[in-house]
Amino acid sequence: MDFTKDLVDKFAKDLLIGLTPEENKMVLDEFKVIESGMDKIANIPNISEEDVMTHPLEYDNVSLRDDLSVRELSTEEVLQNAKCKTEEEIIVPKVVM
């Protein structure tokens, strides 16, 4: 899949982000550098046989903690960041049109 101006706009749309023409061009320019680097990586000897590393440390003794029911936030704290609210409720945008 070639990385083109139209493709940049498609990804921006999927991500719900608007781009200016200048920003679109910057993405393309930056991607050329990454593409060049990744082409070189693909040619590193035996790289396809290498394990993937998703995390720096190995955790062989991890267990999930028990769920504890606690009341963390007061109504006042919950409403603190809500710009649209009634006395005790957050007003959310209409989702079903």
Partner: protein
């Protein structure tokens, strides 16, 4: 060098706090280091804690209950967290006083300190220069002598590079040694908590307070057997460091700049100092194709993780809510409030995660990451650490510096991401001056070997005249 924090332990804390807040405002005018200044900061009851009533600066990506936390982004410009990060809680419990929250590159994505929503951060050594990023305000405030320590975060080199540009110490311990609960995530497999100070002793003291297993962060591990400060004076005689000839031999560079020549010259001077204190330093080779791959590997992994981590920034749950139907609200929120840099990173992250692209980009990046880390660990079987210059020059000029990824980006500017790939403990100390401006050297060791890495760094710093310096003191 003696700890600044321990010296301040016996100071008049009321006067210290008052003086510190004056310096905070002076520094704000000079460098624009802060998003929030805590003018109403109060003294705590004095205690035995080494950090009792010691003032500090916190990067603005650490959640602080009831106190603005923006990540230096317009998307969170009015966000007040209902909970606190473990780092903030531990420092508060130890009696330390947060006097300001510092400007950073938006969400930590950047290395310049130029992309925060409240404006650019200037370097206190020369305000026409960048402080480096992403932990720009934290570095600038320590370098200017405002506070004895500051907290940063480090995903690629965001503590260790600004430390070099500002002539101070910057340390990120082994991955998971400090809880990241409440730290706004950038790239979770690379994110580390880090500390700035003007001496190695001070970063050791602060990390000793911060470290420990945290039930809220499953990547933390039990470090109760580690005491960094207690081991700083351990003998380093017979220790062994190595460096990559591919990065430190000037003949590997085509048309090297005068600054790069001076950086390499200062590096060689430092190597000679290190050898004189009984540490062996050996030139080693590392596959050039892997070193050259570091910027692309870092970009692929970090952008992919960031795209996922920040998908909740819609303007619906928090942040400025824009107008329109729900889709238009989100589009307007993200379009109007994310900087250009963040938008570009998200698109690249989304692209490399597409099913048809994953193998070539994301999976290959994870394979290279594994190979680099595996080869580093093989080196650490024979050596106590890797030592390298932190950058190819002193801090660059603000004018002309961008975060655009460039074809000619030097590997020398990006090698510290190795520390994040492997979760290795890594510390920057100042090692020289170029044209009156500081530069730094970085030491990286094997995971869990933090005591050894800090002892080596402490002895080296003690052997040079740069530890403890404050910007502007010689003017």
């Amino acid at each position: 060098m003696e700890s600044v924090i321990r010296i301040l332990k016996n100071a008049n804390k009321e006067q210290l706090l008052k003086k510190t807040l004056e310096k905070v405002h002076d520094n704000q005018e000079l460098c624009n280091s802060f998003v929030t200044i805590m003018d109403n900061a109060k003294l705590n009851p004095e205690s035995d804690s080494v950090l009792s009533n010691i003032p500090y600066v916190l990067k603005d990506n650490y959640s602080t209950k009831g106190i603005l936390t923006t990540g230096s982004s317009n998307t969170l410009k009015d966000y007040i967290p209902p909970f606190s990060s473990t780092v903030y809680e531990k420092l508060s419990l130890a009696g330390a006083i947060m006097v300001a929250k510092s400007v950073m590159d938006e969400f930590g994505m950047g290395g310049t300190g130029l992309t925060g929503h409240t404006g650019i951060v200037r370097n206190p050594w020369d305000t026409s220069l960048i402080a480096g990023g992403s932990s720009a305000g934290s570095a600038a405030s320590v370098a200017a002598g405002v506070v004895p320590f500051a907290i940063g975060s480090d995903t690629g080199d965001s503590v260790r590079k600004p430390a070099a540009h500002c002539g101070i110490v910057g340390y990120k311990p082994t991955y998971g040694m400090i809880s990241r609960w409440g730290l706004l995530p950038f790239a979770s497999s690379l994110d580390h908590v880090g500390v700035f100070a003007r001496t190695v002793s001070d970063v050791a003291i602060v990390v000793d307070v911060l470290k420990g297993k945290d039930e809220k962060d499953m990547t933390t591990w039990d470090s109760s057997n580690i005491n960094l400060e207690a081991h700083l004076n351990d003998s380093v005689n017979g220790k062994k460091l190595f460096y990559f000839k591919e990065l430190c031999d000037i003949s590997f560079y085509e048309n090297p700049s005068d600054d790069l020549k001076k950086v390499i010259e200062e590096f060689n001077n430092t190597i000679n100092v290190i050898k004189r204190i009984g540490i062996d330093v050996v030139e080693e080779s590392f596959p050039k194709e892997l070193l050259d791959a570091i910027p692309s590997v870092y970009t692929c992994i970090s952008c992919a993780e960031a795209t996922s981590n920040m998908s909740n920034l819609t303007g619906i749950i928090f942040g400025p809510r824009e107008t329109g139907n729900i889709n238009e609200m989100i589009i307007n929120h993200r379009t109007l409030n994310f900087s250009s840099l963040i938008k570009r990173r998200f698109i690249i992250g989304s692209y490399v995660l597409q099913r048809e692209n994953q193998e070539k980009y994301f999976v290959n990046a994870l394979r290279v990451r594994n190979r680099i880390v595996r080869l580093m660990k093989e080196k650490f079987n024979n050596y106590d650490g890797l030592i390298l210059p932190c950058s190819a020059s002193h801090a660059p000029k603000i004018h002309g510096t961008t975060d655009v990824i460039r074809q000619d980006l030097a590997t020398l500017e990006n090698h510290m991401a190795i520390g994040n790939f492997g979760g290795f403990p890594s510390i920057t100390i100042p090692n020289g001056m170029i044209d009156g401006l500081p530069i730094g050297v970085n030491i990286t060791g094997n995971i869990y070997d933090d005591e050894n890495v800090l002892a080596i760094a402490s002895h080296i710093a003690d052997s040079m005249p740069y530890e403890g310096q404050i910007a502007g003191d010689n003017k």
